[in-house]
């Protein structure tokens, strides 16, 4: 059984650690000597929680470091290297692909205390340490008439470091782009413990680090691009009897020339899970709900675009509701942001897909996935950034009564639907461990060799976040 499949099963002998102190842990002792006791966690009770991200599996780390400066990170990497121990970087660990969870005994570097943030309004830039909460950047920039557009659903929790590691998107990414589009410069510590400063000229090494899930280096500071917010925003919700109709409406609206700021969908199961939590009066009978913002500095254009979307929704058989005011719009967007965790009300665990397909094939893809779900007997739901073709089919399951093998099989089938339609495996959650197996379907052998060569160039000993993204080389 592969690591990924093992991870999805409920019990394994390794899940029952006995209480133990950190006294016999030489690396923890060395790090404590270097950094002081407050930055190093070595007791089992302290380490246990750092084996997880939002997907609940992983291996308990040997020790956890909570650095307060880049120097702390450098010292940690060098000490881990001397001890021959691997290193896993971590933000708020709200990730959904296992990216921040160690897959072997390692040092976890948790960046949650590196939270320095400075705004430079004249340059329209923010300089942030990796532990800064995503929302905090916009909050700090807003008094200067600026915002930071990348807005993953977890933006109240997730950190800039985590966003960079996964190249996170969010509802705004359809029009405004993802995290990587807002990075002007990066500092990172490499596998040897050396610090580098990258800009986006010459080789775009910063671009390589973004979305590398901590497998190529540890980002310790980022210079982020800020923009003025659009002057006007209009919100619209449409609901449809069937999920394919929503996808048709999206394709038609964009073909007609609308460029909405946000274009999101959730299917009936998602809507109901959220409604159970927030009681917003969402349409419980609908097969799918679309949420759309049109925005810009010219009100006529904003209204025009909303009319285009509205017409496309009606044409596809939808029922349209305009948000009466900002409060109603905010409530609808809170609904969308709460989908992912609210699904926990249906089944305790889930396999979260993150495929991206061309918009032209959206109706076919969502219908095929729906059919796969129906045939599987699993509770399958779909939501996501449909404007980008970024879909999140989720398989909800109860590990005590349902087969992890079967879940993995269905996830694989879904990934193959995306690949057959010219899509890719990940839009924003990363490959992590969850989709590592599928990489062989997605990437040809020559390209895979190139990816392995890049990894070897930056991390020759394979110390950085091992077990993520790239499948083992057959001859290795």
């Amino acid at each position: 059984m592969t690591v990924e499949k093992l991870a999805l099963t409920t019990t394994s002998p390794a899940r029952k650690p006995r209480s133990e102190g950190g006294g016999d842990n030489a690396l923890a002792a060395e790090l404590t000597r270097l950094l002081g006791p407050k930055k190093v966690l070595s007791n089992l009770s302290e380490r246990l929680s750092y084996r997880f991200d939002a997907i609940q599996f992983g291996v308990t780390p040997l020790c956890v470091v909570l650095p307060e400066s880049t120097e702390d990170v450098i010292a940690t990497v060098k000490a881990a290297r001397r001890a021959g121990v691997s290193i896993v970087g971590r933000g708020a660990a709200s990730g959904l692909s296992g990216g921040a969870a160690p897959m072997q005994p390692a040092v976890v570097i948790s960046f949650t205390r590196m939270t320095r943030l400075e705004i430079f309004p004249e340059q329209r830039e923010a300089v942030a340490q990796p532990g800064v909460i995503t929302l905090a950047v916009t909050e700090a920039a807003r008094p200067h008439g600026l915002i930071y557009p990348p807005d993953p659903a977890s933006f109240r929790t997730s950190t800039i470091g985590g966003n960079l590691g996964e190249n996170a998107g969010g509802p705004l990414c359809f029009k405004y782009g993802v995290t990587g589009d807002y990075v002007n410069a990066l500092d990172f510590v490499d596998a040897e413990g050396e610090l580098h400063t990258l800009t986006r000229d010459a080789y775009d090494l910063a671009g390589l680090l973004i979305g590398s899930e901590g497998t190529l280096g540890l980002i310790t500071e980022a210079t982020l691009r800020l923009t003025p917010p659009p002057k006007f925003t209009r919100t619209l919700m449409a609901h449809f009897a069937e999920v394919g109709q929503a996808a048709e409406a999206v394709s038609a609206a964009i073909a007609a020339g609308a460029v909405p700021g946000k274009l999101e969908f959730m299917d009936g199961a998602c809507t109901n899970a959220v409604e159970d939590y927030l009681h917003l009066g969402l349409p419980r009978d609908a097969g799918a709900v679309l949420l759309v913002d049109t925005d810009g500095d010219d009100l006529d254009t904003v209204e025009e675009e909303r009319a285009l979307v509205e017409a496309a929704c009606l044409e596809a058989g939808g029922v349209v509701r305009r948000a009466a005011d900002e409060a109603e719009a905010a409530a609808l967007w809170q609904a969308r942001r709460s989908v992912s965790p609210a699904l926990g009300r249906i089944r305790p665990q889930r396999m979260n897909e993150d495929i991206v397909v061309p918009r032209s094939v959206l109706p076919e893809v969502v219908r095929q996935i729906r059919a796969l779900g129906d045939a599987s007997g699993f509770h399958l739901v779909q939501f996501g950034h449909i404007g980008d073709g970024n879909l999140h089919p989720n398989i909800l399951f109860d590990p005590r009564t349902e087969s992890a093998e079967a879940v993995h099989h269905l996830a694989h089938q879904i990934a193959l639907v995306a690949l057959r339609h010219g899509g890719v495996l990940s839009g924003e959650h990363g490959i992590g461990t969850m989709k590592r197996d599928f990489m062989r379907d997605a990437v040809d052998a020559e390209t895979m060799t190139a990816l392995h060569n890049v990894k070897r160039a930056l991390d020759p000993s394979g110390a950085l976040n091992p077990g993520k993204i790239l499948p083992e080389e057959p001859h290795a």
Binding site: T10, T11, R15, K16, P17, R18, S19, L41, N43, L44, S45, E46, L48, S49, Y50, F52, D53, A54, I55, Q56, L66, A92, A93, S94, S110, T112, R113, T115, G131, I133, S154, R156, T157, S158, V274, D276, Y277, S338, S340, P341, A342, L343, G344, R345, P348, Q349, R350, P399, R400
Partner: protein, 425 residues
Amino acid sequence: MNNEIPVQALGPQGEVMAHAVDACVHCGFCLPACPTYALLGDEMDSPRGRIVLMKEVLEGGLDLLDAAPHLDRCLGCQACVTACPSGVPYGELITSFRGWSEPQRQRSPLDRAKRYAILKALPAPKLFSVAARVGQYAKPLAPALPAALRGPLDLLPEHVPAMQPSPEVTPARGQRRGRVAFLTGCAQQALAPNFNAATLRVLARNGIEVVVPQGQGCCGAAALHTGARGEALRLVRANLDAFNPDDYDAILSNAAGCGAGLKEYPVILHGLHDEKKAKAFAAKVQDISEYLATLAREEGLEPFLPTSRPLKIAYHDACHLAHAQGVRAAPRELLRMIPGVSIVEIPEGDLCCGSAGTYNLEQPELAGQLGARKAGHILSTTPDLIASGNIGCHTQIQSHVRRQGSAVPVMHTVEVLDLAYRGEL
């Protein structure tokens, strides 16, 4: 969250705990809501981390002693419950866990004595009053005392008022519109007797007859939340005997902590023979602000007199009102009915003030940091008056606001209403 909690071995409270652990999907949405995570920035001192710790202890994979320091730091503010989209009943989990684990704890003699004193003095207003008076005289000595004793002394007001026992029946003024039972609270009677006096006046003025059932005692929340489950059960059953829910339109509390405690009775008695009785009781429990706001909406309240000058009130959401009971709008609606009053929202309003029942006494350092942060935020709104609906928050905020050099008055919501009726605002 996957777990192998041996529910059978743990009994009805085991069911409650396993259900809560099941519901957690580990998404981390709770992290920014948690006061200790805000202060300490580590996973074990976040709700998500504490759920993992409790699960591991219940499964037998982690010693209770190892998990205890992090679980002890939880304020029980339940801000995470408000933030959680998966509906994890974290409050029920931590309360049940404390009840289950306390008998297995070995505490130092000083710690035991302190807890014993708190649990004996809190539910006994007269004893508490005496202790408060003694404490008042000891205040000047505070700098020379150990930290464990300085915390409580810091919180005592300069002047401990005389006790004002509530009459058994306060008749309605004018036409009687309703009949309610009232829980008088414990520490509050000693520290702020005017809260109850104002409550009785405001209710009576609106045609509500108020009965103070004589057999009533402490709600049991303090005992329960410190893990003294046996003591809590005794107090809960005494109240179930004292209040017959059929006799009243509502059972009212004017202390957020007590109100939340009363609403928790069905959880405490889950699987025990009085569970049904507890449900009938809890269904009638309301905070004073909930009851008055409903009355205002349905039948109207007696009109308030306008304030003598425009009055900006910073309303502080007590955790046990906002998070545990979900009451946020009602107190604001009531205060806004007073002509001349405007409400200002406090930055980081959802963050606990650090009072949190006995937390101030058990974790004085963290409580102090949160208190200072809250007072700073409140004063940043430059209010004319601070209102809240909980005695714990009241003393904590008053103490920290004074420490930051402000003389702005701190009142219970119902005191503000009472003053408005008397034209003294």
